[in-house]
Each structure stands twice: as structure tokens, then as C-alpha cells.
Amino acid sequence: MDRNVFCKAVKGYHHIALTVSDARWDRVIEFYKGIGFHLKYSFHHPSGNGKRMAFLESEKAGYLELFGMGTGQLPDDRELMHTTGKFFHMCLAVDKPEDVDAVYELLLSLGAEERIAPRENIQRSSHEMDSRVAFVYGLEREIIEVIYLKVMQKKESRS
């Protein structure tokens, strides 16, 4: 089997999975409703462990799958970002630079905590990228990025 066969089988992005605590289940759903998701499907974990699961759907951002089985807490950011094999943030795209600020403020108003306030992020190496980004912690300390990608081209093509 080759790569093309695989690519033809794949339709696209479906979801990212997020574990949350049972205690904050309803609050987390309200939080994500605040940024455009709605509760699409609600059910229990197929293992029979009694834990709640749900698919939240956003017209623009696909599904977010919630697992209500979370305990403990994430490590601090440094460890989180160096943990091999860890998915450590999800990112939402916005249409305009000022939308980064607006969505960031919205997230804070919904109960998120500041991680990195909106700022320009200019990269100049093998590729060039100008973006405006912001990061927050969601209700369970999950890291959410908001990005507006302004410029992107290979440096070699500008010579």
C-alpha cells in the first residue's frame, strides 16, 4: 500500500480529544459553547466505566471530544512542552489580526487564564512567518492558542 491510497482514504480532520474532570464537566461545556461549539453527541465511555463523553461541534473548527475521566493535574509548562509524544496545545485560526485580541478577551471573560497576551510573532529562518498569537489556559489548564497567520513564504523564493 502506498501513501496515495492512504490519502484517498482520509477525508480530513475529525477531532482532538481533551480529558476533563467530572466535577467541571458542565462548566467546560459552557466554556467551549462560549467560543462557538455546541453539544452534538453525549454518551458514556464504551468501556462501561461510567465516565461521560461528548462530541462538541463547531461549524468552523470541527469536533472537540471530551472525556470526563480526568484526575491529577498537568505538569508545569516547561515539563509539558518537553514531554515526548505529548500533544500540548490546540490552536484556533482567526480571520484578522484584531480577532486574536477579541477572541483572547472573550476566552478570559469565559474563565480562561492568561498565558501569553496577544503579540506579534515574527519568524525569519528557513521560512518566514508573521503572525499574531495569544495563548490562554482553559478551565482544566489545557493550553489554547489563537493565531492569525499573516505572511508565509520560503526565504529562498525571495532572493
Partner: protein, 154 residues
């Protein structure tokens, strides 16, 4: 009530993944249908790559590889049980059979099995059903990838 700021959200953009061997992960994800969108060195002044890849089938199926994996911080076996953890990303397939094709292909390029293709019926809390066929694999650093074909709920 919908806050106007929500209207500015245009799409899911990517999920960030910490990898220990950038070249190995690049090879794996490129063979899995991803193409390079942008690559730069991060933090600045280092030789570590930060790379956004997007999938041929859907540009919103995207991962951002951070070459920052540290063997001092292995992925805990039960990381999916930690609140606040993003712990898998999922590819939608066109058909049920495509779940099996995607799973077999992923295994053939070095992924390891977490769950073979399995058909499941979730009983929804509103009384309906959600039928899916799904499979899970582990990527090079133990990250979890899912392939799913989901029917509209009955």
C-alpha cells in the same frame, strides 16, 4: 448569546506535538500524507525545529512538531487520564473500510497498534445511537492517532 468575537474564529488550525527525533517524526508524518507548510528554528538561536505540517486531504488536519522532546520527561502511560490533557488527534475517513486501510497503512510505516479497527455503537443520552468504526495507533513518540468513520446519529 453569541459574542461577536466568535465570528472571527475561522477554523481549527493545528495541534502541537512534542517530538524527540524531528527527522524521524517528519518522515513518519510525511508518509502519513502530511506536507510541510512552514519550518523554522525555535527557540531562536538553537538548531531545534518547529514545523507545521498540513494534510493533503484537508489543510485543517494539521500538526505542529516541536523538536523539544526530553528523555527526562517520557510520556506517562496514563496521560489520557490527566485533566486538561489533549491526548489524541483523529482523522475522519470516507468509509468504514477506509478505517481499516488507514490503520494497516499506518502500521506498515512504523506505527504500533493501540486498537485494531472496531465497530462501536454509542448509546446517546438522548436515546439515539452513534455508530462509528475506529482504530488507534501510536506514533513514533507514543502519541496517539485515531482513524474514524462516523455515521450521522440515528
Amino acid at each position: 448569546m453569541c459574542n461577536d468575537a466568535v465570528k472571527g474564529i475561522s477554523a481549527y488550525h493545528h495541534t502541537a506535538l512534542c517530538v524527540s527525533d524531528w527527522a524521524r517524526s517528519m518522515d513518519f508524518y510525511q508518509r502519513l500524507g502530511f506536507n510541510l507548510l512552514i519550518d523554522f528554528l525555535w527557540p531562536e538561536g538553537t538548531s531545534l525545529h518547529k514545523t507545521i505540517l498540513i494534510h493533503e486531504a484537508d489543510p485543517t488536519l494539521s500538526v505542529e512538531l516541536f523538536e523539544a522532546g526530553d528523555v527526562s520527561y517520557p510520556l506517562p502511560e496514563q496521560h489520557m487520564n490527566t485533566k486538561g490533557a489533549f491526548w489524541h488527534i483523529c482523522f475522519q475517513t470516507h468509509t468504514e473500510e477506509d478505517v481499516d486501510i488507514a490503520y494497516s497503512y499506518a502500521i506498515s510505516i512504523g506505527a504500533t497498534s493501540r486498537m485494531e479497527p472496531t465497530s462501536m455503537r454509542h448509546v446517546l443520552t438522548d436515546g439515539g445511537y452513534l455508530d462509528v468504526r475506529a482504530a488507534f495507533v501510536f506514533g513514533p513518540d507514543g502519541e496517539i492517532l485515531e482513524f474514524i468513520n462516523q455515521k450521522e446519529a440515528e
